[in-house]
């Protein structure tokens, strides 16, 4: 299989691999290695330049996903394909909703909701079929995307980074379910950047590197280190520790904030200079609201937010950025980047308000060199063409671009939500190192993440959020993952209004 995109980028170079019936086959590779491209070809979303597919020994060249679906292929897409304004059930059933039509062609919502609810129950997820997508936090959306495929009971399931924004316990439930699918004799292709998941789940692993297949290995024949090295091509050290440059001054202080809807309740914390403060929690326990409260897009009912001493509660997002805040949103396609605009335009966006590229007119050369430095520093793989649309980047490269742009503000406080979602091990290290460099200059970082490993390797202090409250606080090096997960799931600390210890 080969694929050259219209802009001349060779995403796949004569790759071949084979999936056996009834196995879980993992595909790993750096950002931009071509994993999504390969899967989109299998699913009929894009056409290959050359090559062929044999499915159950029959030639198969899908021109539209409908042909793949007819053969029992289902896919979880890396970038959610969810409709905001309709309900969870409608999103899941879309394409098969005509089964629920009465004689008068009315879709029977009750029957539809019921059939979806039974699937949700089996998966032990907590989503209501009647919720609208735009009211759900990102990890719940991910679950809906997964449900879409499971609902169809496909025999051949492609999972393109299905766990990128799930919390640890959700991941565990999900992996368990995928194993259940295998028990039923179905075949699964699984893509993830978390090698831990890959090794706990997969039977075989195919490694892609820059559009080439390095090889397919039995899980028993390789280990994490060797796979990581084959993915990247060089040896890397993956162990991480929080930075060690704590100052004494507080850069951000949050005093008893509650939002209007009551999702976050009486939350207080201090962020010191040189500190990375992690927020752990199962998605939907107030992380998004905390982010929005800091960003200035959520109305507070009470409480105050102070940036280096002066209150920013009444400022809007732009004014907060002026005051020294930078924001990495977890919704890179929707809120972080403008996917149809070029890389240059996306890098400039926001910075132009600070007169970086000239006061009235934008100086093209300045904008270019600014962009080029971000692209180089964060290793954004874009085929050397910074005029390409951001949509044409791989998911992880988009993320790197977003992180690079925000850190370029040289903020006093950086608020980062899921900063390494969908990012490969090397790029993850790169992003983490850029956070470390930032705090060395005396800035502070708020790290909101569903990835416990990330928080423990990076944060000096961890606050666990449960139902909008801070239920506990731990300081490096006294981290205990099991303890934290007890607090995250409410087994411990839920009754107390304040931290049990600090």
């Amino acid at each position: 299989m080969s694929k050259t995109y219209p802009n001349g980028l060779e995403a796949l170079r004569e790759v071949s691999f084979e999936v056996r019936k009834g196995e879980i086959h993992a595909i790993v590779g750096e950002n931009g290695a071509g994993k999504s491209t390969l899967m989109n070809i299998l699913f009929g979303l894009i056409k290959p330049t050359s090559g062929e597919i044999l499915f159950n020994n029959n030639h198969f060249s899908p021109k539209h996903p409908s042909e793949a679906i007819d053969l029992g292929i289902g896919m979880v897409h890396q970038h959610f394909k969810l409709v905001q304004s309709i309900t969870v059930a409608e999103n899941i059933v879309l394409g098969m909703e005509n089964r629920f039509q009465s004689k008068l062609r009315r879709v029977d919502r009750e029957a539809m909701n019921e059939s979806v609810a039974s699937l949700i129950d089996r998966l032990r997820m907590s989503i209501s079929p009647d919720d609208r997508i735009d009211s759900l936090p990102i990890s719940k959306r991910q679950q809906v995307e997964i449900l879409k495929v499971l609902y169809r009971e496909a025999d051949f399931v492609i999972l393109d980074e299905p766990t990128a924004v799930l919390a640890p316990n959700e991941v565990e439930d999900f992996l368990e379910f995928v194993r259940g699918i295998r028990e039923m004799g179905k075949t699964v292709i699984f893509i993830s950047h978390r090698l831990g998941e890959v090794f706990s789940l997969a039977d075989r692993i195919t490694i892609l590197r820059r559009g080439n297949v390095i090889g397919t290995f039995d899980k028993r024949d390789v280990d994490r280190e060797s796979v990581a090295n084959m993915m990247i091509g060089t040896a890397t050290d993956l162990s991480e520790d929080p930075p060690d440059c704590l100052g004494n001054e507080s850069v951000l202080s949050v005093e008893g904030i509650s939002d209007v809807s009551g999702t976050i309740r009486d939350l207080s914390f201090q962020l010191r200079e040189g500190e990375i403060l992690g927020f752990a929690g199962v998605g939907g326990n107030g992380q998004e609201e905390l982010f929005e409260a800091l960003a200035g897009s959520l109305r507070l009912a009470s409480g105050d937010i102070r940036l280096v001493g002066s209150s920013i509660s009444s400022l809007d997002t732009l004014e907060r950025r002026r005051a020294g805040l930078a924001l990495i949103t977890d919704d890179r396609m929707g809120k972080g980047l403008a996917p149809d605009r070029s890389i240059v335009e996306n890098c400039m966006a926001g910075h132009h308000k600070f007169g970086k590229f000239g006061k009235w007119l934008i100086k093209d050369t300045d904008a270019r060199s600014f962009t080029e430095s971000i692209v180089a520093d964060y290793d954004v793989r874009c085929g050397k063409n910074i005029k390409t649309a951001v949509r044409a980047l791989s998911g992880g490269n988009m993320q790197k671009l977003l992180v690079g742009r925000e850190i370029a503000y040289e903020p006093v406080v950086l608020v980062a939500a899921q900063p390494t979602a969908g990012v490969d091990v090397a790029a993850r290290k790169l992003i983490h190192d850029s956070f470390r460099r930032l705090v060395k200059t005396g800035s502070g970082v708020i790290l909101i993440s569903g990835d416990l490993e990330e928080i423990m390797g990076l944060a000096n202090r961890i606050i666990v959020l449960y139902r909008g409250r801070a239920v506990t606080e731990m300081t490096h090096p006294h981290y205990d993952p099991t303890e934290i997960s007890y607090y995250m799931t409410g087994i411990r600390g839920a009754q107390d209004d304040r931290y049990s210890h600090s």
Partner: protein, 299 residues
């Protein structure tokens, strides 16, 4: 104000509102499918022309309507092929179609009816009315004796509300406009849904055109749609494509039209009277815009 005046005003409003309602219901379908249809003006015009021609030739308004609807559907099909399958810009194609049809109808009229800018004849059959005389003034003037297309259009408004929000086709239609990738991923062809929406839109714009040229005036004149396709577009945008709201807004526009007709007979400069419906469209657009802005905050 005397009762006769109110009655004429009401009846004129309804008559004027009918074509706008029909066209904007059609456009609401493509609106939900993700196409802002700027070709409605041309679709109405081609239908107005062929309705008159066939009504004249056959002496039957019914055949006239059918001819208008078919012509409009064919053009709409063409539009959809360009926009949905060849991925051409819908505004460019839409305006091209409008200009083409404006000249085409003028050309055909001059060839067929000896070079005039308008064509009328007593042989053109008019659209039937629901002719019932009950003797009750209110019933006779306010409920009965309108064009059958008026009754049909109101029924269609409710039917479309049902189709768009209750049926499977409606769900796909709405998804098509909001997130076409989701539809593709679910194995449904976006182009096909858009094609169906366009064909239905063509049909409804066809009815609108027939109502314009075969009711009351019974003639075809150059560019006789006079921007109604765009008034319909305004109605769609204001109402967010919700059929029941479209019905309400169309009636409002019909009322402005009727007032304009009425004022032309008064001492006010006729140019101003003619401007009225358009000025009011802008005002209504503005008011609705301010209202939605209030609802969603300043974002």
């Amino acid at each position: 104000m005397d009762i006769e005046l109110i009655t004429t005003l009401f009846r004129t409003s309804i008559r004027m509102a009918t074509p706008i309602l029909l066209a904007s219901l059609g456009g609401a379908l493509t609106y939900h499918a993700g196409i802002i249809n700027v070709a409605m003006e041309g679709l109405m015009l081609i239908s107005a022309f062929f309705s008159v021609v066939f009504s004249y030739l056959t002496g039957s308004a019914f055949y006239g309507i059918i001819a208008g609807v078919v012509a409009s559907m064919l053009i709409s099909l063409l539009y959809s092929v360009f926009v949905s399958f060849l991925k051409a810009n819908n505004f460019a194609i839409g305006f091209a179609i409008n200009i083409l049809i404006s000249s085409l109808t003028l050309f055909l009229m001059r060839v067929m009816f000896q070079g005039k800018n308008a064509f009328n004849s007593p042989d053109i059959a008019s659209i039937m009315e629901l002719k019932v005389k009950t003797g009750n003034y209110f019933l006779d003037n306010y409920l009965l004796n309108f064009s059958i297309l008026t009754y049909l259009s109101i029924a269609i408004a409710f039917l479309l509300a049902y189709i768009i929000y209750k049926t499977s086709f409606g769900l796909r239609l709405r998804v098509c406009g909001e997130m076409p990738q989701a539809l593709t991923a679910a194995g449904i062809k976006v182009g096909v849904i858009q094609l169906w929406a366009s064909i239905l839109c063509g049909g409804l714009c066809g009815l609108a055109g027939a109502q314009l040229s075969l009711y009351n005036v019974r003639m075809f004149s150059r560019d006789m749609t006079g921007g109604r396709g765009f008034v319909a577009l305004a109605a769609i945008l204001i109402s967010g494509g919700k059929p029941k709201r479209v019905l309400f807004i169309s009636l409002l526009f019909g009322l402005f039209d009727a007032l304009s007709v009425k004022l032309q007979n008064e001492k006010i400069a006729p140019q101003f009277a003619l401007m009225l419906p358009y000025i009011m469209s802008v005002v209504v657009l503005l008011l609705f815009h301010l209202k939605t802005r209030k609802q969603y905050g300043k974002a």
